[in-house]
Amino acid sequence: MLSWEYPPRKVGGLATHVYELSKALAEKVEIHIVTCNFPGALELERVGGAVVHRINVYSAPSPDFLTWAMLMNASLLRAGCKLISEGRFDMIHCHDWLVAQAGVTLKHATGTPLVATIHSTESGRRNGIHTDYQRVINEIEGWLTYEASRIVCCSWSMVNEVAGLFNVPRDKIWMIPNGVDPGIYRPREIEQPLRAKYADPSEKIVLYVGRLVPEKGVNVLIGAIPRILSAHQNTKFIIVGEGYSREMLSSLSKSLGVNRKVFFTGYVSDDEVKGLLGLADVQVVPSIYEPFGIVCLEAMASGAPVVASDTGGLSEIVEDGVTGLKVPPNNSDAIAHAVNRLLSDSALREGVSKKARERASGRFSWKAIADLTTRMYDSVIPR
């Protein structure tokens, strides 16, 4: 399995996906993960049955991210070659365009079948292709779908997107959702010491967790804050995550006069995120583009009532009025209305929370996802 992210190196949801999937798969198949190194992380370790090989990818000087990614592939490729020359592998599994070059080269060098998970597309992330930089990434994504024997997408929305963008035959694409481990979330009532760090005891907490980039729609959530505060003055908005939009979002909250009620935490540990999920009265997932929305599933598994954009994978995870409330994307008024509904109605909050936990622990368990993934592998090389 090739992935540029693996814990503790985490940029988006990819690291968690590969970590959890590989752990669950290791109960069925021998699995090696080739990934980038990270300060303090072991070069070679066994994690829940999977063998993780962290490769030094920072020695090549690069003028920009795309060039770095290509040279990173050269390093992962060299490690993959060494690994494959030492033992037999039945399958190469790539995650996203960032490791396509290494994956496709290994496929041709060894004759080993290749499958790929497309977690999102450049066209979706950037709302179209506007520059040569994006065009190269878009072409690499299309090329990966061409070279792979099977493509995995994490939602039907992504299946449609990938099939439409790259003319991929539908029978080559498997929809396998992301997963969650409900057992890792703590009971909601024991988080009081953490609450004191972020909010007054009497304040309600509205939480956002994710990257601070345009497609996540955090600006839309901030736009909703004045209307939420007019109905629920005693509310704190905690924005967890980092990203290049942070300065713009901070300026927006100042210009709306709500900055005293908004807490940008920056990057926080996984453990603290779990704690915050246990504290949240409402979790908002305001994405404009969202292939799946693992953060929404995590909120559901933790029992945090969710308000989510009715877009992409979020539309498929949340059942409106049952496991959360759905709002049209890019609509601050709709977010304000839904958040106010949940904050005003404790019975609705409790009902949604209970149903969401049940839904998350069934269909989205990593065991179920590993079962589907091995069935997908078997469709390429029957055992």
Partner: protein, 209 residues
Amino acid sequence: MKALKKILVLTPEYPPRMLGDVSINAHSVSRRLARDGILTSVVTFDDWRPGETVEEGIRVSRIASPIRTFYSILTWTPLITPEFVRASSKIIRGEGIDLVLSFEWTTGISAMTIRTIHDLPLVCTYHSVECQRNPFRDSPISQGISYLEREVANAAELVAATNEDTAKLLRDEYGISAAKIAVTRLDEDISSLISICRQAVEGHEGANA
């Protein structure tokens, strides 16, 4: 002792695609190898003439880039690698190869991959190194190219430099052992490059040894 009977030549240019001396030298070396009775296969890049032909007794596979948008030479090179490896692996699986001869750094990632996966000795040639070509040697692009040149030279069993200046830079700047560098003027003396190739095959103990 193993002898050189089948060779795979990787080159970024080959006639009729001619950008510089590499094309001329790769062509004359391949012709000489074929004339000496060595089964010679060339894999080269040519976006306008992809396909396989036999020319002057040489099997020539021309590959095209899978990515049509050119961003920079440092992104182009890794992205062309899978096609070089695909065409090369097909030849290796079909008829077997005793040695990979790689011209210049742009085919280097492909050459290193083939060397490791197929356990073959590698000889690479350098007409120049980045700091001879580019006055802006501290630019990130230039440093990235130097990095790849160093990696390929390090991986190769033997390195042929076409002039003394390049050989000196390979030793002094890239830290390549003097024992594995030979100077061979490809415009005058192809025989010594072929000797180097024979030497690499005879001394090969395994790329992964």
